[in-house]
Each structure stands twice: as C-alpha cells, then as structure tokens.
C-alpha cells in the first residue's frame, strides 16, 4: 500500500524521490506521466500525497491534478508539484485545483521531509 505517488517522466527524478522517501520509511508508487498517474491513483486509493511534475508527455501534471479532483473524484489527496516551472499563472491554476505546495527542481529531500511526514501521517 503506497503512501506517496511520484509522477514524473524522468527516470532520474522518480528514482531520486522514491529512493529518498523509501529510505525514510515511506512507501512509494511511481507513474511515468499524467495519464499513468490517473491510473495509479485509481489503483492506489490510499495514497496520501502525490509529487507531480508539470511538463510530461501524454498528459501534463496540472491537467492530471484537475482530473484527479473532477474525474477520479479524489478531493483529499495532498499534491505537491515538483517541476522546473515557476510561472505564477501555473501556480494559480494548481491552487485552484487544490494543490498543497510547489517545489522548483532540483529535489532536496531534507527540505521537505517534515512536511511529507505530516501529509502522509
């Protein structure tokens, strides 16, 4: 049963984030793009937190977040965008879809561990 879902088209990012979380006792599932993320969140309804990239093939991360809320009907899962983007308009779109936070890459696990532990508790 995964506590966190990491959605990123980059194998390097999936490996880094899931490796860090696993080392800290957090169970992780991964998805390779927004479409895959939708499939994985449906099959892992107990996921408490999603890390999602924005720029991904097939379906971008913000569209995936909106669909998680609307199509999947999951209104409660915590979502943090982990992306190279820092555009204010994108952040507003994410906030409107109920995301909890935004990290500009690169990922620094030590900076977010406390917040992650609270969100998956």
């Amino acid at each position: 049963m995964a506590q966190v879902l990491v959605v990123d088209d980059s194998d390097a990012v999936r490996s880094e984030v899931s490796g860090f979380l696993s080392k800290n006792g957090i169970t992780v599932a991964t998805a390779v793009d927004g479409k895959d993320g939708l499939v994985k969140i449906k099959s892992n309804p107990d996921v408490k937190l999603i890390f999602a990239d924005v720029n991904m093939p097939n379906m971008d991360g913000l569209t995936m977040v909106e669909k998680i809320r609307s199509e999947v009907g999951n209104k409660t899962v915590n979502i943090i965008m982990l992306t190279t983007e820092s555009d204010a308009g994108m952040k507003e779109r994410g906030k409107a879809a109920g995301i909890k936070g935004w990290i500009v890459k690169p990922f620094n696990g030590a900076n977010v561990l406390d917040a992650v532990k609270k969100m998956v508790a």
């Binding site: 390097a12 490996s15 880094e16 943090i80 992306t83 555009d87 952040k91 990290i103 500009v104 690169p106």
Partner: protein, 333 residues
Amino acid sequence: MKLNVIAQPTASEHEVLSKVIVVEHDAQTLAALKVFFEECKLVGYRASPESASSVLGANIDLGAIFLSETDSNGRDCFALVNALHMARPDLPVFMRLAPGHEADDLPAEVSKALAGVYASGDYAYAKELIETYLFSRHYPNEFVSEIKAMTLAAVQASFKGMQVEVEQPYIVKDKLIYGELFSLIPLESNWCRGYMMLQTEEERILDIIRAKKTSVHTPEPTFQHVNAVLGELSNMVWGSFKNRYGLKSLQDGLGQVRVEIPIIVNHMRKYISFGSDDPQLCFKFTVTDPDGKLDSSVLYQKFIFSLDWAPEKYDESNQNVNELVSSGELELF
C-alpha cells in the same frame, strides 16, 4: 594531442572568445598575429602544414583557420586549403597572401574554399573578416553570465559531490557532435528562439552513476539511465531559462510568419546542422571526481539561436527579467 597555444587573450569571466588554428611559418607574422588575436579575443593553436589535419581532427569546437599562402619553403598551401575546407566546410579559412600576390592570382577552386584573404600586416581588414564570419553576433556579457550560472547550478545538482569547472565561453563555427549522445531542447523568449544542445560521452556518465553520484540509484545502470540523467539536466536548464526570460506570448505571433527550419543530422560524420551558419555559443563543463577515482566527464553546451536573435531587446528588457528562482524549497499554499 598537446596543442601549441600562440595566443591566450585576457578576458573578463563572461567575455566570449573563439578558438582558431594557425598555420603560419613567418616569425614576424606570428608575433603580429599573437597581438592581433589577443586584441580580438581569439585563442590561437599553432599547426604546421603537415600537422594541420590532425590538429583539426582533434578539435571539434573551432571558430576559424588562419594560414599563409606559402610554407617555409615557399611552396603554395593550396592543396592544404582545399583539404581543410573539404574536412570542415563550416570553418572560415582566412589566408595571408604572400608578398606581392593579389587575391585575383589565386586559382578559382582555392578562392572558393577561402572565406577571405588579407595582405601581410593588414590586420584592420583581418579584423573585418573575423567580425563578419566569427563575431557576427553580439552575446551580451550579462546574458552569458546568467546562462552559465543557470547551467552550473543544474550540473552541480545532477552530479552530486563532483567538482564542476567551466571554461571561458566561446564561439564555435564547427557543427560537429561530441561524444555519443546529446539532448536538444527548444528555447524561446521575446528576443531569441532556437535550441540548446548538451553533448557528452556515455561511458563517463555511466561511471558517475555507478559511483552513486547522480539521482539514479540502480546496481547496473544502462544507457537509458544515462539518457535520464542528461534529460533531467537539460530540463532543469530549460526551466531556469524559461523562468528567467519567459516565453514569447502567443499573441505576439498572431499574423506573423513563424519560421521553422529542418535540423539535419549526419550520424556517420557526427554532424548536426540547424540550417544556419550563425556562430554558436558554447560552454564546456568538466565534471571531476574530487577523490580522483573517476575519469573526468565533459559536457559541451551549445546555444543555437537560429530562428530569432535580437539581443538589443535583451538589453532593453534586461531590467525586467524575472529573478532567478530559488530551487529545492517547498512553497506551501
């Protein structure tokens, strides 16, 4: 191959240089070229007529070739001119005419292979030639400094605990590809449009992955893990560029012709053309293991603004660029 450097200009950290090969036997001319190169921000590598082809083969990031019409025995260098031009048609060749000779005296096929000729001592005209063929584009120092800082941060984040050094930025006319793999990503702002290319060697990056100094953790990394590291590095630089300079508004493009040019890759020759002869801005990063256990890895980063380049707009809008974004911090909503 150890290179005989005849000129190494002093320049500020972000001033753009270019590397050139010099085939010249005359001591007086060599001394004058050294002064000329230093003034014009050219790094000069000396070669003999016999070694010119091998020096050329060992350097894939050059800007031009300077040579004299005759060798030390008074024999013409026409065959060498043609051979160099055949080998590297993108490199402009500038020939110093022998005393008393005129450009019109040159055989037609030699004239075709040359970008320009200059008389002994006429460095004012030689300067015009390099400004036409080599420094035809102005890359603002501040822009160069910014993109270097963005990339350096991304390279350091990608290769953890490794030392990263970057050479003085330089202009390249060569279109040759370094290593076995490269990434290519479009870049666009209100004043530029083109591509960024990152070229490197697979085995060196694999070594760094095996040493657990990247974000990829796997006992047996493959070329696909190398792709992942290079892809994410490119993504981070792209993101920094976009966050700093923004994207061209689609509204700006209404009614405008949006130019696209095919990119041609010749795998056999390790050659890539973006359809433009404009000089490319190049940075060379060297990633070194501080413990000395790994061989150094080289990353060539090239910027090819082949679709739009208007640096005067950069200068105008420089006060309005976005602040560099602090990365790695969680912004909670």
